[in-house]
């Protein structure tokens, strides 16, 4: 298949390969994985897990394989936006961990296991943590310990313990350690916190890993380790209970009470909502990014217009609240942690294994509400640079201009020199006019702000 394209990150597992053809996502299953795939499908495990939403659904196709050695080609349901664990809130990581354990537990009932526990194999579909790697299952052999246990602790437990006990921002360590936070580092940072659960799976685990690190060099034959099935199940179930008990301490972050302390009057807030809705209806996007979304309050307007929405925010608690709402409502809203001035880069092998956030989706429309002053004034970003950056991401833009006379901008300028002579409505329109044409602009009543609907001008 000449014009098919292999997914770059799909190189580790010899069981199959992910590729794209004519915009459709396929997963090739190799003959070496035929028996495991048949067992997954025929044991009732696939039915059980897809019914609960824990595993992505797929259809078997007659599409041509990408490489030789194929047994079958399947077409999995598409996840609108791929996200990575360093962009998730605490509860997202916790739910992904719980789903991983639940899937392994269910697999054990059918004589199978989850052979790897990578956080990258879990994605969020309508607020539900879902395994997207259909080839993650293998046969259970009697007395076999869980081979993915170490990976599970690095990918899930280490960041969860650190977020819950030390600092909510520490899941960002996953950006530096693509295969999970090293357990010795997690143990050092935890410094005795996290109770017995952390002690067993992180501290003791780290010591055992260190102690047996070089066993491969020994001349003596490697001992066989057996874990009876009942103990295996007891271990998984105790981890399930432990994960369930994990919670964040009650903390308040910078934006935690934004909507309670905002300077909008009730009338202005209602006017802004109806204007945003009107512009969204005109734009009719299928995919929307709400940048600086807070807890996704305005993202919900895009949901009402039938779009799937990615809500980006710098505040971990705002992302947490947005996720809990999406989960409760089962809506296609994906809140992600993102510092717009330092967004998720491409990482991993050849800087291409995990894509940068902008490579993963090109949204039909971007909502940039009450965010321009943070980019231009808090971060000294020149308006023309912001405009060309946004034009590189989308064709349609709904953006709110917040003038210097607005109390929020006054607050930003209170503690610093005003070195922004171009930060005016005219300066804003000139800067954005180089990349966009203004379709509509409306003043938000009872406020100093202006809402614009713009379309990118063809380059």
């Amino acid at each position: 298949m000449s014009d098919a394209q292999r997914e770059f990150s799909s190189f580790r597992d010899p069981s199959g390969v992910v590729f794209f053809h004519d915009g459709t996502l396929y997963r090739q299953i190799n003959t070496c994985y035929q028996k495991q795939y048949q067992a997954l499908m025929q044991s009732g495990l696939y039915e059980e897990l897809t019914k609960s939403g824990d595993l992505i659904r797929h259809t078997e196709t007659e599409a041509s394989a990408l490489t030789e050695g194929a047994y079958r080609v399947i077409c999995p349901d598409r996840v609108p936006m791929i996200s990575y664990p360093y962009e998730w809130s605490f509860s997202m990581l916790k739910d992904a961990a719980a789903a991983t354990l639940r899937i392994h537990r269910a697999a054990l009932e059918k004589g199978m296991i989850l052979k790897d526990a990578s956080a990258y194999n879990i994605q969020f579909v309508d607020g539900h943590a879902t395994l997207i790697d259909t080839l993650s299952f293998d046969f259970y052999s009697d007395g076999q310990p869980w081979i993915a246990y170490g990976q599970f602790c690095r990918h899930f437990l280490a960041p969860l313990f650190l977020m819950a006990n030390i600092d909510i921002r520490l899941n960002l360590l996953l950006r530096d350690w693509i295969d999970g936070i090293p357990l010795d580092l997690a143990a050092t940072l935890l410094n005795g916190k996290g109770g017995m659960f952390a002690k067993q799976h992180i501290v003791w685990h780290a010591k055992a890993v260190k102690k047996h690190d070089e066993d491969g060099k020994k001349q003596t034959p490697t001992r066989t380790i057996k874990l009876p099935l009942a103990s295996h199940i007891a271990l998984i179930e105790s981890m399930m209970r432990g994960v369930e008990r994990l919670s964040l301490p009650k903390v308040q972050t910078e934006w935690g009470d934004y909507y309670e302390s905002t300077n909008y009057s009730r009338q202005a807030a209602a006017a802004k909502q109806s204007l945003v809705t009107a512009f969204l209806e005109q734009s009719a996007p299928k995919t929307v990014w709400d940048i600086g979304a807070n807890d996704g309050r305005f993202s919900r307007l895009a949901l009402q217009c039938g779009a799937s929405v990615v809500a980006l925010d710098i505040d971990p608690l705002a992302v947490e609240r947005g996720y809990l709402w999406a989960k409760r409502a089962s809506k296609p809203l994906l809140p992600l942690l993102c510092d717009l001035t330092n967004p998720s880069p491409a990482i991993g092998f050849a800087c291409a294994e995990r894509k940068s956030i902008f490579e993963r989706q090109k949204p039909d429309c971007i909502l940039a509400l009450a965010v321009i002053h943070h980019l231009a004034i808090s971060n000294n970003l020149p308006l023309p640079m912001i405009a060309s950056w946004l034009a590189s991401l989308t064709d349609a833009l709904i953006i709110e201009f917040v003038p210097k006379s607005d109390s929020q901008v006054e607050l930003l300028l209170k503690t610093r020199d005003d070195i922004f002579p171009d930060y005016t409505r005219e300066g804003f329109e000139t800067a954005f006019g180089t990349c966009f044409s203004i379709v509509k602009k409306e003043a938000i009543i009872d406020s100093e702000r202006i809402l614009y609907f713009m379309k990118r001008t063809p380059s």
Binding site: P145, Y149, G150, Q200, W204, H205, A234, L235, E237
Partner: protein, 69 residues
């Protein structure tokens, strides 16, 4: 299997799993015990209810007797 499970992770799993097995056994015992107490409590409640019913019956008994007269 393309994942290197690591010997340290395997060994600690055996230790942690033994603790989990003991923990699971304790949970089962606790549930059985609390179930037993609940049953006993229920049984004694029922006995109390029955005696209460008996009292009620006794209370009403003279009336019946009187009406029988």
């Amino acid at each position: 299997m393309y994942l290197d499970p690591g010997l340290g992770s395997m060994i600690i799993q055996i230790i942690v799993a033994s603790l989990a097995t003991v923990g699971a056994a304790l949970i089962v015992m606790r549930n059985r015990l609390s179930g037993l107490f609940k049953k006993k409590a229920k049984a004694s409640d029922e006995t109390e209810d029955k005696s209460a019913d008996a009292v009620l019956e006794d209370d009403t008994a003279p009336e019946h007797k009187e009406s029988a007269k």
